[in-house]
Symmetry: D2
Subunit: 115 residues, 4 copies
Amino acid sequence: MGIVTNKTDKYQTCIDACNRCAQACHECFTACLNEDDVAARKNCISILMDCACMCQSSAAKMSMDSQYAKEHCQMCATICDKCAQECEMFKDNHCQKCAQECKKCADECRKMAGM
Amino acid sequence: MGIVTNKTDKYQTCIDACNRCAQACHECFTACLNEDDVAARKNCISILMDCACMCQSSAAKMSMDSQYAKEHCQMCATICDKCAQECEMFKDNHCQKCAQECKKCADECRKMAGM
Amino acid sequence: MGIVTNKTDKYQTCIDACNRCAQACHECFTACLNEDDVAARKNCISILMDCACMCQSSAAKMSMDSQYAKEHCQMCATICDKCAQECEMFKDNHCQKCAQECKKCADECRKMAGM
Amino acid sequence: MGIVTNKTDKYQTCIDACNRCAQACHECFTACLNEDDVAARKNCISILMDCACMCQSSAAKMSMDSQYAKEHCQMCATICDKCAQECEMFKDNHCQKCAQECKKCADECRKMAGM
């Protein structure tokens, strides 16, 4: 359900997934920077930041009912899928959980964009 | 509860309030632009965008457990309070609801920042 | 030329165009809100915000040499073109100038993305 | 000089410094992630992202002539100073250059905020 209007009701599941995924990626970014094998994680750390930013942008565009909400969610699905792949390579808890959030968000973004 | 770590557990109520408030302000921004008296709402529309952006930035900083999370939440509380004031001037449903979300978010941000 | 490395040299013209366009759209957003015929400008005002945000995101991705820099610039070109169209409908100075910046930025983004 | 209006003329030096600093920090972020001693740079990498985001937010607020432009520049000065300190600890070219950009940006933000 939209919060102050009903225009964004149709997006709410996807907005929630984007907000959760942004948080997961931001948390995982800091956790990865603090791992002993941080040198092995440079690609993962980069894409976690790409993914967190894209999820926040997509949540914003859906909340505004922007005419570019779908395009944002399409790109978001692509980046979330890639981020899930990168995170899955690492066996620690935060990367495994983050990969799950990224996949859920990618699925919601694809549904939202009619892909 | 944090999503992939427990570092952000202490911020979760505030992160959720910031995400809700960002969405409320983004929705209210579009709703105000579509009101007949949009000319009377220019200050409200401006600050709704300031507030939405600040809430998203604060959610990001808390999620990353940034050393500047508190400073962001302090400024966020200030902007949310002002946005609530502006929205309260308008009697439509979306502005009244948005004002409520802004006040809740300001309260959570103040608690988080120890103000 | 990149500022601290040479990795982003190839993007510098496009980064500069994105920064200029973001500023132009942010300025034009505020100027449009203050026009007497603001009610006629609601689409323009919405897309100015979409365009400003997208330009800032694209500048960030290029500056980080992100693997998603091209995808961001592709979407940025699309949004800049649309924003130019909207701004061109209004005869005031700020919209006319903003349309020019949007077109320049769209061109640079297309070149950058190899479109 | 503002790009489409003259409202932001007074901020132009600071907007330019913020855009340059955001780019420098984004470049330095990627360069640090690719250094052999990345493990020693985790604080630097975190704050580079804080600084880049804050500089982009400040540029946006000044460009919109937001009533919160000064507050953003105040926080930006604080974060830029801290980022300069972190970067100065590393002897490579990108961190040394980035520290210079951060200091210049902090100075401009302080001037702008009347600090």
